[in-house]
């Protein structure tokens, strides 16, 4: 940050330009090699050259203390970018605000400047910085230590997380002016022990929330509740901290911040930071069968792209969208880039299930260049310092525009020209993006949603809150009837009313059983029982990783192939009760994909409206039952289906919220198609609609479930299910006159705030879905629009469009 701010005007620019042209040329050469066999314009749908941008400056505010101004001056910062100046003024005026900043725009100054100024003015001042991960906090520490050194150690700054040694903790609580931690630590380590933090809470003036846009969905809904608890504790000690937030570009940063902190928030959106030039490429794998809309595998194509870049000595990061794909890509790239004799592995994997030491080692390897390529999940998306790489390759769209920019930003983060290549999968979302570049490069359409009043989440935090301080009847905690809920919690044995207040009366430590990363806190541990292969003496079982409950049934079901660091493991046994999966190392040429079966029942309609079609749009509470019933074996490289198996796993029942469209009888009756065609059209429409919904909701495809079912006579009444999903239903059993519900439900107990927004954007959702299907070059439907065309689904695309015509009329 410091270098780019001033170097751009001076001699550094020439240095950059030299490097820029070489990188540009190298990349162009690589692209040329990649598309030699294809029609370039069909494959490279976008090659956008993003020119460097000049900085916009403001003077350092006069209220900044001279020693602090001098410290920044010594780092090469004499003036502020316009957004930094705006942030500084809001901070100085005591306002809560959120700064929207792209990668490498000097956002840390937006909070460090006002916070350190206040600390230097009054040494009692305390600030709490929250980062979504431990690694990010560690990363910020270096910058603050540097400032502290320049200020003669005029303030104390520490990270406080699970890795902090216990003998250091007391000193940190007493002497830390700035404490860098994460929401999970605040939740389990700080708030339940607030009496040890008296000094901090009595003087707590600032709370910094960095990477605010990551606090959406489940995690955001939890954080909002942790902050409700924090506010109670701060009030108990007589303080009312001010919030400084930073977010990547999203459409509603102010709304999100206001929901999280439950206070009014101002937004700073203009960006005064300079940017280095970048080549942004959308790579659409070539069609191999136009009829069926089948493209070359994007994983294979992404591998090719990465290989070409690596072959030209460009240090490259490859992002995959799932753990599975990380491992698949890693296997491919490691096979293509074998280490020389005596050399370390040049290509590494990096994702959530790896252990911390392994991760730190990979980060170091990337910084010092020993590691030439890394295949990562979103775990490396945020600002962990891995140095600046030359190229970023994304195997598939990241799911949100904000994430895509952050992934692209991992290349050329500080200076120089860099390139980012997004290789589209045939998923509808990817295809929509590569074919509508304005949607991507224009103003962000993405909203981050949270549901702080999700009862499941709220009640869990209310338990924690009661543990921390007895609940008073006049208190407010979200939008619930607090006394009513407390009485209910007393009946369940968690609370006891005494002296008017509700006290915690359980031996258990509630924060321990509540994970902020999922609605329920169950994790499955993965135990390698291979033994004897990797050591000479102890063949003892070893824990190699963890998966959360929701993905456990699909990734570690019995007979699944689980991948970890490129190694395949066969799941021998799943101990559901003990939450353990026992695996053995194997070497096979396939991976597995789970088949899930789902039913939805509407419990309560919150809002309902007649719309064109005729149809009805609605949202409300729903009961979702799902079960993993089997799995497919998919061969590496060819992606052939080489076998399947049945599974008997427990059924999972979940109370959540859903948005649905009921297609009227008249609409369907008027369609000039056979019953089975109509059915396939409906499934195709839902497939496309779900894709566009994840785009609008800025959520992962996993966060949103889909199902079709017949509308029951009345909500809440048990009706016989009329299931007709493609894999399980029998269309012959379907009645001639039915009114199907197309459900998009929140895939978390209690819902996390997607259903109502979907209800509101119903028209846009349908419009976008139509654009997607119309814009798809396939003839009869393909995985990129209405789903794969098969023998049975000849007319899926045609029917889906016919339904959409009527719905959009």
């Amino acid at each position: 940050m410091a270098a780019s701010q001033h170097g751009l005007a001076g001699g550094l620019t020439r240095g950059l330009a030299v490097r820029a042209s070489t990188t540009l040329e190298t990349v162009q050469e690589a692209l040329g090699a990649l598309v030699a066999r294809y029609r370039a314009d069909e494959v490279l749908t976008v090659v956008r050259h993003i020119p460097a941008r000049e900085a916009q400056f403001r003077a350092m505010p006069t209220w900044v203390r001279p020693e602090l101004a001098a410290a920044y001056h010594a780092k090469g910062i004499e003036k502020l970018y316009t957004h930094q100046a705006a942030a500084a003024e809001l901070a100085h005026a005591g306002k809560n605000f959120v700064v929207v900043t792209p990668t490498a725009s000097g956002k840390t100054l937006c909070y460090n400047l006002p916070v350190l100024n206040a600390v230097l003015k009054d040494a009692d001042t305390r600030a709490l910085y929250l980062f979504p991960t431990k690694a990010l906090a560690q990363d910020q520490l270096a910058e603050l230590h540097d400032l502290a050194k320049r200020l003669d150690d005029g303030f104390g700054v520490f990270t406080y997380d699970g890795d902090t040694p216990s003998d250091a903790r007391r000193a940190i609580r007493e002497h830390g002016h700035v404490i860098l931690t994460n929401p999970d630590m605040l939740h389990t380590g700080i708030l339940p022990h607030h009496t040890k933090w008296t000094r901090v809470f009595e003087n707590l003036r600032y709370i910094v929330l960095d990477e605010l846009h990551t606090y959406r969905g489940v995690f955001g809904s939890h954080l909002a509740n942790v902050l409700r608890r924090l506010a109670r504790i701060a009030e108990f000690y007589g303080s009312k901290p001010q919030f400084i937030c930073c977010s990547a570009t999203i459409a509603n940063p102010g709304e999100l911040a206001a929901q999280l902190i439950a206070e009014p928030v101002q937004v700073v959106e203009e960006n005064g930071a300079p940017a280095a030039e970048k080549l942004f490429v959308f790579y659409n794998p070539p069609m191999v069968n136009r009829n069926l809309g089948i493209r070359r595998s994007y994983l294979n194509e992404a591998t090719r792209v990465a290989k070409e870049l690596l072959a030209r000595k460009l240090q490259t990061i490859v992002f995959a969208n799932s753990r599975l794909h990380t491992e698949v890509l890693l296997t491919y790239l490691q096979q293509a880039n074998r280490p020389g004799p005596g050399e370390a592995e040049p290509i590494r994997g990096y994702r959530g299930g790896y252990l911390p030491g392994e991760r730190r080692e990979i980060e170091r390897g990337l910084r010092d260049g020993r590691i030439r390529g890394v295949v990562a999940t979103s775990a490396l998306e945020l600002g962990i310092d891995i140095g600046s790489l030359d190229a970023s390759v994304m195997a598939g769209y990241a799911g949100s525009i904000a994430s895509t920019w952050q992934r692209a930003g991992r290349a050329g983060r500080r200076s120089g020209t860099s390139c980012a290549v997004m290789v589209a999968s045939s998923a509808p979302l990817d295809q929509f993006i590569v074919q509508h570049p304005d949607y991507f490069f224009g103003r962000s359409p993405e909203h981050a949603y949270v549901q702080p009043d999700n009862l499941e989440i709220l009640v869990n935090h209310l338990k924690c809150a009661a543990f921390e301080l007895p609940l008073r009847p006049e208190e407010r905690f979200g939008a619930v009837d607090l006394p009513g809920l407390c009485e209910r919690m007393s009946e369940a044995g968690f609370l006891h009313r005494s002296g008017g207040n509700w006290h915690w009366v359980q031996e258990a430590y509630p924060a321990d059983t509540v994970s902020l990363r999922s609605v329920t806190s169950d994790n499955f541990v993965i135990i390698d029982t291979t033994g004897g292969t990797n050591g000479d003496e102890d063949g003892e079982p070893e824990v190699i990783g963890e998966v959360d409950f929701s993905s456990a049934l699909t990734t570690v079901h019995p007979k699944a192939i689980y991948l970890h660091q490129g190694q395949q493991y066969h799941v021998e046994r799943l101990d559901f009760e003990q939450r353990k999966a026992y695996v053995k190392s194997v070497n096979v040429d396939y991976y597995t994909d789970a088949i899930r079966y789902t039913q939805v029942r509407v419990l309560e309609i919150a809002e309902e409206e007649q719309v064109a079609g005729p149809a009805v749009r609605a949202h409300g509470d729903a009961l979702v039952r799902s079960q993993v019933v089997g799995f497919k074996k998919i061969k590496f490289f060819t992606n052939e289906n080489i076998g399947a198996g049945k599974l008997e796993l427990p059924e999972n029942e979940m109370h959540t919220t859903a948005f649905w469209i009921t297609l009227g009888r008249k609409l369907l009756a008027e369609l000039p198609y056979a019953l089975s065609d109509r059915q396939n059209g409906i499934l195709g429409l839902l497939y496309a609609m779900a894709s566009m919904a994840t785009l609008l909701l800025m959520c992962d495809a996993r966060d949103l479930g889909t199902a079709v079912g017949e509308r029951p006579a009345r909500p809440g009444v048990e009706t016989e299910w009329q299931e007709f999903s493609a894999t399980l239903g029998d269309p012959a059993q379907m009645k001639e006159s039915f009114e199907p519900n197309l459900y998009l439900y929140d895939a978390y107990p209690g819902g996390i705030g997607f259903s109502e927004p979907l209800f509101r954007v119903h028209d846009i959702l349908l419009q976008r879905t139509r654009e997607l299907i119309v814009g798809c070059p396939c003839e009869r439907g393909c995985p990129s629009c209405v789903g794969p065309a098969g023998e049975k689904c000849e007319k899926a695309k045609e029917v889906a469009l016919a339904i959409l015509e009527r719905l959009c009329a």
């Binding site: 543990f467 009837d481 430590y509 003496e537």
Partner: protein, 448 residues
């Protein structure tokens, strides 16, 4: 669907554990009343509890709480120390403590019963028992919160009592009871804790003295085996929080009477144990057949830096009967002290005596190898020892010796490296005739 149904389906509201049967029916009876927002001032069992215990309500500016007082004569309990506490013992227990600590009349024994063992801000010390020497016996006073709302009143009374006797005496109080009480005082935002002038926690001395012997150092175990008392039927302490919760919800008060008795017994055991530990530390018995206590005293002396005393007691413990493992540990410790003080012959003799596949045995091999390599400069002799040690390591691992696989690995690679170096040196020595070697090969020194 109404709100209550919505609550009914929440996983977060599923009861965490079953309450006692009696309490369950009581809850069912009172639930209807409580939902309307009425909450009785005190649980149903409070009055009967006070009658059964002949307890009285103490009141102060923060309200009321229950108090039970009882005096135990020395015949029942333990011998109160006469005069001032033995200075040698005190030096080991609380080095550098204030003067009051030597006056047993300033001691206040304390033991809490709490709603959980995890600590944190949501754990309540619903009963705080204190005790002090008085009139040739032990006076025990127990404070009790009939309701959680009585906590502030209880804390105020406790602070007053603690001011009268500023030396706090506990069993594990340094990590549990006192931090918990400090948390409670802070949460009042009004009442100041009476910080003790000194805090004697007898858990660690007890652990040093009797862990090997008893395997466990729970207070009740120590009371039985060290003091030779029999407390008869006692409750299972894991049940304590649930008994209290059941009582709060209108359950029977009888189980609480057991908690009062349990707490009294713990306080008396603590007082007895404190006297016993002071006596042992002042002057450990050397005539008994058992050297374990002596060994424990030596460890404490060593930790406190009283090397001379430590050496003396280690030697005494070796003369008495010790289990094999402790015998090795004592020899190893004594050897370490001897070496540090330059008494090499003694150290060598002790190391020689414990060579083997045990933790101490392997360490002894290492010490001797270093000794012969560096001091005596006899690489052949060192190599013989190292080869023997490697042979010990090749035997099937003796898990019961408490050696982890990682430690064994470390020893193996250490000995292998050492052997390579020794063999190299012997080879060069044979070629060059030898004596130059030490001058040109400083690596051995750097490695150890």
């Amino acid at each position: 669907m109404n709100v209550r149904d919505r609550f009914a389906s929440l996983a977060a509201l599923r009861p965490a554990r079953k309450a006692g049967v009696a309490a369950e029916s009581a809850v069912a009876e009172t639930a209807a009343i409580r939902v309307r927002g009425f909450s009785p001032a005190l649980p149903d069992g409070a009055e009967r509890l006070a009658e059964m215990l002949q307890a009285k309500a103490l009141s102060n500016s923060f309200g009321e709480h229950l108090s039970v007082r009882k005096w135990f004569s020395e015949a029942i309990g333990c011998e109160p120390p006469e005069g001032s506490v033995n200075a040698d013992a005190l030096r080991l227990l609380a080095p550098g403590a204030c003067a009051e600590v030597s006056d047993p009349r300033q001691w206040l024994f304390l033991d809490t019963e709490t709603t959980g063992l995890m600590g944190g801000t949501g754990t309540y010390p619903f009963m705080v028992g204190i005790a002090w020497w008085d009139a040739g016996g032990l006076e025990v006073e127990q404070f009790f919160m009939r309701e959680l709302s009585e906590e502030h009143a209880l804390l105020l009374t406790l602070a007053e009592r603690m001011t009268e006797r500023p030396v706090l005496v506990t069993f594990n109080g340094k990590s549990f009871d006192w931090p918990l009480l400090e948390t409670r005082y802070r949460m009042t935002r009004k009442i100041r804790a009476a910080a003790p002038r000194a805090h004697l926690d007898f858990l660690h001395p007890a652990r040093n003295l009797w862990r090997v012997h008893l395997g466990s150092v729970r207070l009740a175990e120590l009371e039985k085996h060290v003091l030779g008392w029999n407390r008869g039927a006692d409750l299972i302490s894991e049940m304590i929080p649930q008994f209290y919760f059941d009582y709060l919800r209108g359950g029977p008060p009888e189980p609480l009477v057991q908690i009062f008795l349990h707490n009294q017994m713990d306080l008396r055991a603590l007082a007895g144990l404190a006297s016993r530990i002071v006596a042992v530390l002042a002057d450990p018995r050397t005539d008994g057949a058992d050297g374990l206590e002596l060994y424990g005293v030596s460890r404490i002396c060593e930790r406190r830096g009283e090397t001379a005393r430590a050496k003396k007691h280690y030697a005494q413990s070796l003369e008495a009967v010790l289990p094999a493992e402790t015998d090795r540990a004592a020899r190893r410790s004594l050897a370490r002290l001897a070496k540090r003080e330059g008494d090499l012959p003694l150290a060598l003799k002790l190391w020689e005596s414990i060579l083997g596949g045990s933790r101490e045995g392997l360490e002894a091999y290492r010490h001797l190898a270093i000794h012969y390599e560096r001091q005596v400069r006899e690489p052949q002799r060192a190599a013989v020892l190292v080869r023997r040690a490697l042979a010990e390591l090749r035997r099937p691992p003796n898990r019961s010796a408490g050696l982890s696989a990682a430690l064994l690995r470390r020893y193996r690679s250490d000995f292998e490296r050492r052997l390579q170096r020794l063999e190299r040196r012997m080879l060069i020595a044979r070629r060059t005739g030898g004596t130059l070697l030490d001058a040109i090969n400083p690596e051995s020194r750097a490695r150890d």
